[in-house]
Amino acid sequence: MRNSIEWMVGGQQGEGVDSTGELFAKTLVRYGYSVSTYKQFMSRIKGGHTNYKIKATKDRNYYSGDGIDILLCLDKETLPNSLDSLNEGALVIQEGKEAQVEGSQTSEGTVYTVFTVPLKQIAKDLGNPMSKNMIALGVSAALLELPIDILHGFIEEIFAKKGEEVITSNKQAVLKGYELTNAHVTNQVNALEVPKESKRLFISGNEATAFGSLMAGCRYLSAYPITPASEIMEWLADELPKVGGTVMQVEDEIAGLCFAIGASYSGTRAMTSTSGPGLSLKTEALGMAGMSEVPIVIVNSQRGGPSTGLPTKHEQSDLNQMIYGTHGEIPRIVLYPATIEDAFYVAAEAFNLADIYQCPVVVGLDLGLSMNKMTIPSFDPNRVAIDRGKLLTNEEAKNFNETHFKRYRFTEDGISPRPIPGMPNAVHTTSSNEHDESGYISEDPENRTNMMKKRLEKIKGAIIQEPFKFQTTADSSDMVLVGMGSTYGMIQEAAEQLNKEGMKVSHLHIQQLYPLPIDKLEPLLQGKQIVTVENNYNGQLLQLLKQNTPIHDRAKAITQYDGNPFTVKSIVKQVKELISWQL
């Protein structure tokens, strides 16, 4: 019996690699295991190697794993590309003329078994050449002794519209897979332990972000399609109309933000979603939202930059753009959820902060977080309550008794009561020019100084419920590994491994990047060696920490910017190198 499995399917784009991976992940989820996935793909519709990695464990996990126990090869590139990742005793399933089993070894000495199966021929014999991936899934499921009913159930759901014949042939294909396993590789069968009972969701970071936004009352999204953020728009396009809202795909990235700002100005909770190139185009409008004090949520799912860069690869290099992008100085809040589950709550809180502080809130994601799925607990509706800040009703606005409502009234906390255009007693002016309290253009130096202070100081107290996550060993640690976004799972596992080997390492994952809650972070960093783990060249997170706290003599960054996520192995190796460097 085993309580975890690492599985991967690889093949050419367009031959069902993604749907095969997704189906096996869902099978494991339905069985009751916790699953994390990672999709590798290229910026084309057909052709090019792609793969789908899964790690399933009885207990909750946060990372799709370094290794592979079962590898399903649908093309010739899969095996050579994955040799380094094979775990000892791995089973490789590949296409071939006739069924046979043989042992093999990698150059590193890892022993594995190759199970050759005539998938195409068997599928053809079944009268459904498309069912070859189902045979392979049947082999995979049988190796783990998963109940065949799970896959059969999915087949009935997926092919419901295609008719009985397609359903039957696919079910037979799965059954054939079980038979092949029992006939040729019974010695490789290692059943998954019975899972724990709990109600869970299997969801991507993009979906969790969109879901959290809808639950926070967002009713409008305008955006332009861009990898890896498009799923946010697509999910909301299905769901928003059912609750009286809508999604608009507009003409360009600039319009994507400007439409959303317009909708928010007129009273609706609104957002846009984009990736780095889009955020570059949006920065002038971002400044407008800051200057005119219109709440807005901008989701930026990062990919490999700069320019068009690596459009389908993972990177975390927009930190500086999210925090500093736009001319002049504006109030803003920058959040970056650590996990898919956090993405839901952070998105919901982003709308609250935007309304409370009347400023843009950037929610950073990255490709690893956006496009991959994880098993997470059911969401808690009581964790984040909707808070619209100083948004007025018409009756409240009427009490001010002003012919022209002062939209930019000076107040103690710098936040002005905000009416909505259309209210009979609150005609008001909103402006991206420097303005006085009434919203009219003003170049008066004293007014300018006061307005700048009002805008830039009002966000000082902004803080989310969980501005960072911190895990430490029982006694105090010597080193803090600091990360953001989708590196959460790898850093956590790396820290666990390092601690097991006798080092004293803790893990800090920052969810609120700006304003950085430095008073809360400083005690955690004091006297410790600081190592940021981040997917960019310059170590942007390290730079941010150095700007805010005196750690210059004891801080370094582990960086990776090749388009791929870290592995636990590479983090552990580099941390050890840093320790020996210091000695």
Partner: protein, 281 residues
């Protein structure tokens, strides 16, 4: 009922004689004559001399950034379908930096009015060539004369699907006010280009120039080809409502029972949360 006094906002700073004064008055008078109150409108403007109109007419106003009045205005209409929306800008704002949005707004047909104060020059930056400047026009940036040819805005909106296209002249107040009022009442994207002489920097396209060259079109065409042919045969020097069509506007076509504004402080909707979670189980 609102009076002109109710609709006066900040003190205008345009040059004496600027065509924009008449356009501002035209917007104010149209709101009054149609029986609306100031709070029912939002005027969303871009950057340039024209951009200041959102502060000078006392309705709700949003002075945005250069070239982006149309996308912000369309978003405002989406966010609050009951608001009457006027977007406004100049020829540089709308036909230069913001031209892309104008074409897409024309084909999208959201219910709003877009008024362009067209003076064929960049005035607020003190006299550079505009996308509406004539070939050969001499400015600080085209000292040997403009080598390009001007954008044809009304042909553009007609060709791209706008459901109301008109052109006015700030020197013909009666006709212009009538056009603005009709544009506001039109259900769909109404594009109004208004010749608005810049008395300081444009010594070619003057009030007298327009009086001499403009031809009035009395009745709107309902056929786009006929409208286009007429505009082209007069080199764009026509005034009046040129094209008008009754067609369901964007929000009607969506067929959504909009509920955009009901989000209030309080608990998350647990029932909805559990219902949506089923998609991920």
């Amino acid at each position: 009922m609102a009076t002109l006094k109710d609709l006066r906002g900040d003190q205008p700073t345009w040059c004496p004689g600027c065509g924009h004064f008449s356009i501002m008055a035209g917007i104010q008078k149209s709101i009054i004559s149609l029986g609306y109150e100031p709070h029912e409108f939002a005027i969303i403007s871009g950057i340039g001399c024209s951009g200041k109109v959102s502060e000078y007419v006392r309705t709700n106003g949003y002075h945005t950034i250069h070239g982006r009045s149309i996308p912000v205005a369309q978003g405002a209409k989406m966010g609050n379908p009951d608001l009457k929306i006027i977007a406004s800008g100049g020829d540089g704002d709308g036909y230069g930096i913001g031209l892309g949005h104008f074409v897409h707004a024309s084909r999208r047909n959201i219910d709003m009015t877009y008024i362009v104060m067209d003076n064929n020059i960049y005035g607020l930056t003190k006299g550079q060539t505009s996308p509406r400047s004539e070939h050969g026009f001499v400015t600080k940036t085209t000292k040997d004369g403009n080598k390009e040819y001007p954008v044809d805005p009304i042909s553009t909106s007609i060709a791209n699907g706008a459901t109301f296209v008109a052109q006015g002249f700030a020197g013909d107040i009666k006709q212009m006010n009538d056009i603005i009022a009709r544009a506001i009442e039109h259900k769909g994207f109404a594009h109004v280009n208004i010749f608005s002489p810049c008395v300081t920097f444009n010594k070619v396209n003057t009030y007298d120039f327009y009086k001499e060259h403009l031809t009035k079109i009395e009745k709107p065409f309902t056929d786009r080809n006929e409208a286009l042919a007429t505009v082209r045969s007069h080199q764009g020097m026509v005034t009046g409502v040129l094209y008008e069509e009754e067609r369901a506007h964007y929000q009607e076509k969506l067929g959504i029972d909009f509920d955009m504004q009901s989000c209030v402080s309080g608990k998350m909707n647990e029932e909805l949360l559990r219902e949506l979670e089923l998609k991920f189980q």
